[in-house]
Symmetry: C2
Subunit: 411 residues, 2 copies
């Protein structure tokens, strides 16, 4: 009798019929003897609809008020799922983030979980009830409702699993697992049976559909995560700590696991920046203050005390970022600011890269053979990322997929 | 600098424009130096929409889940109003029922307020903020969300006013005050400048648009209530304790204040019930258990140990009530059950009736002169109610309005 946390996303709960389908799936798990805690996102486009409603009364709504408003989306889906479970004879109770003991700091809109106090969840489980927790939300010490940021119901689910020391966290979504590459770009992309936390963290950060924070939590607290489809019955992909569960460790670690792509990329280059201490801080602090998330940063060492500084942001943040940079760039002395909003990120990810060599050169060769120009390069221990033109990203993904033979299981 | 609680209903908050209009009204009160706590209902038809959504997943949703679901309606309107206030420079904060300290018992769907713990409201007021409280909801000792029943945002408002010892509670709605009769039935009905709690309690219970519980609370805690339109600037009607505020007490107490009508009435008569102890309990306990609210009860003393027992229920509850009565009436022995769902209640209300006489005969005479048949009669100290056919209710109201000269101010 396992204790399992299941997470269901908004598309899986978009209407009454889909909510019933989710209830049936939970009922099967309960019927097989598992104790289940379900964590839910808001139905369909609810969150976007509520944001639009807020903007109609105030262009810049108070983050505190916006959080309390947005939290209603998950209250609606969680109560409806509990009712749907009741209608098929599964005793169930819904809990708000506050009731479920999701304590956070007070950073409205992007709060961080400080602690999970699962007394109430445990009490309800002990009474034989299935618990439905409203994801995405928590509560501060002052009893103010917070939200954890976009996609953060995944994070709620893994945090609850950690708090309960659950056997695993199952994330049900509209894809049936983690693929070697985006199947829309690479037709022969292959579903992975398993992937390590570290690899998934890189994949998630670089385009795959999982909140990186949730992967990080799973890694820290050792909670295996299964990503699977909420619409079909299929095994999905197991994300785990690697060593103890993988039957062919050596082979796994010896290769690239997958290709992550992200087409929401723009870059800004500040030309001829004075090469002196404090320049980067002067540039990036105002961006952080304006809530622009900067991703890849590359500084090209120049000559004569001046350098070019290039960084990427989300395409949707470009105009806001340019406003900030144009203001601050005057203070740091430069020869102009240029930008490009037609870019994409493509990354190869694999723990094997930590010990092997030749991955970078093989990647650059594969792209060069197709005549794909590399704008920027950045690497981590288990990832190599290139910025390319958006129009070439599918071709680039296919080239890398073939070059690293990802279509072959266990390759 | 008065501390004022203002309550806004769902029609006053039905869309972004109306929410802005409410914000402007609050801003004027704040600008004039008042400290304001606003209590809000859900926007427009939100509550009905949520109930319909619940029914789509479960015919008989758990009351506990339904309460948590319905509570989101007021969270949405309260956060939006706080945002709208912010957009015009009024510092504001919204509070859920739980945050506002509305403690209730655990009777989901019709919870009673046990206490108001206004620490958080006071804290926010002390910081110079206008507070917007989600009406209609509260929280149990077990931190479960409850709702207080239909129309109960009025009750929240008066309870908060009592908890804060506010100077008054202003209820803004789609009518501009309390009338001597329903203006749709009686064209020359007159808006009352003031009315006593006791009279208003009878008016509210017998058809006027106020939750009787809110009037009762105002009466017990001595909170003057002003009912006024949220759409136009006009004085409205003051509901108060009478004695100390009324300039022409004698005259007031010497007459009928208003006519209450209610067209949602059906009656059930159980014929030839055995006249022995326990019969009434045997009949009405199962009705209470089935959540049927019984209103007027009349028992006609019969001969030979049998009696006819007639009572009224809401028209919408008739079929449910008949199901219950048909089952239980066999146990209590009777000669059949008959019903009529084409009835209305009409009442004359006035504290003056307590001391005067001749009101009942004058009422019956006015109805008789129009040939309007009286089906049932029931009285309280300050009210006389007749059940008549629904088709005749407008005519009855006009006849009584004329007979008691209610068109004349201070008459």
């Amino acid at each position: 009798m396992a204790l399992v946390v299941q997470k269901y996303g908004g598309t899986s709960l978009a209407n009454a019929n889909k909510i019933h389908a989710v209830a049936e799936r939970i009922a099967r798990a309960v019927g097989s003897g598992d104790r289940v805690v379900a964590v839910v996102s808001a139905m369909g486009s609810t969150t976007d609809d509520l944001i639009a409603l807020a903007k109609r009364v105030n262009d810049r709504p108070s983050p505190r008020e916006l959080d309390l408003l947005l939290s209603t989306g998950e209250l609606v889906s969680s109560t409806l799922l509990a009712m749907a479970l009741g209608s098929i004879g599964v005793k169930a109770v819904s809990l708000s983030g506050a009731q479920a003991g999701i304590r956070t700091n007070a950073s409205h809109g992007q709060a961080k979980i400080a602690d999970v106090e699962p007394h109430r969840i445990c009490y309800e489980l002990d009474r034989g009830r299935t618990v439905v927790v409203a994801g995405f939300q928590g509560i501060t010490d002052e009893m103010d409702v917070t939200t954890l940021g976009r996609g953060a119901s995944d994070t709620t689910a893994v945090a609850v699993a950690a708090g309960l020391q659950a056997q695993r966290c199952e994330v049900y979504t509209d894809v049936d697992g983690i693929y070697t590459a985006d199947p829309r770009l690479v037709p022969d992309a292959r579903k992975l049976d398993e992937i390590s936390f570290e690899e998934m963290l890189e994949m998630a950060s670089y385009g795959a559909k999982m909140a990186p924070r949730s992967i990080e939590l799973g890694m820290v607290y050792g909670i295996p995560i299964v990503v699977a489809s909420s619409f079909v019955e299929a095994p999905g992909t197991l994300i785990h700590s690697g060593a103890c569960m993988n039957t062919n460790v050596t082979e796994m670690r010896n290769r690239v696991s997958g290709i992550a792509t992200d087409v929401d990329v723009a870059k800004i280059t500040v030309l001829g920046v004075m090469d002196r201490p404090g320049v980067s801080a002067a540039l990036f602090e105002p961006l952080a203050a304006a809530d622009v998330s900067v991703d890849v940063i590359v500084q090209n060492a120049g000559e004569g005390g001046a350098t070019d500084l290039t960084f990427t942001v989300k395409k949707s943040d470009l105009s806001k970022a340019l406003d900030v940079v144009n203001k601050t760039s005057k203070q740091i002395g430069n020869r102009g600011v240029v930008s490009d909003d037609n870019l994409a990120k493509i990354s190869i990810v694999g723990t094997g890269m930590r010990e092997g060599s030749g991955y970078a050169s093989r990647m650059f060769r594969a792209l060069a053979d197709r005549g794909i120009n590399i704008e920027m390069i950045t690497t981590s221990e288990i990832r190599i990322t290139c910025i390319v033109h958006r129009a070439r990203v599918a071709e680039a993904a296919q080239a890398l997929h073939a070059s690293f033979e990802l279509e072959k299981p266990g390759g």
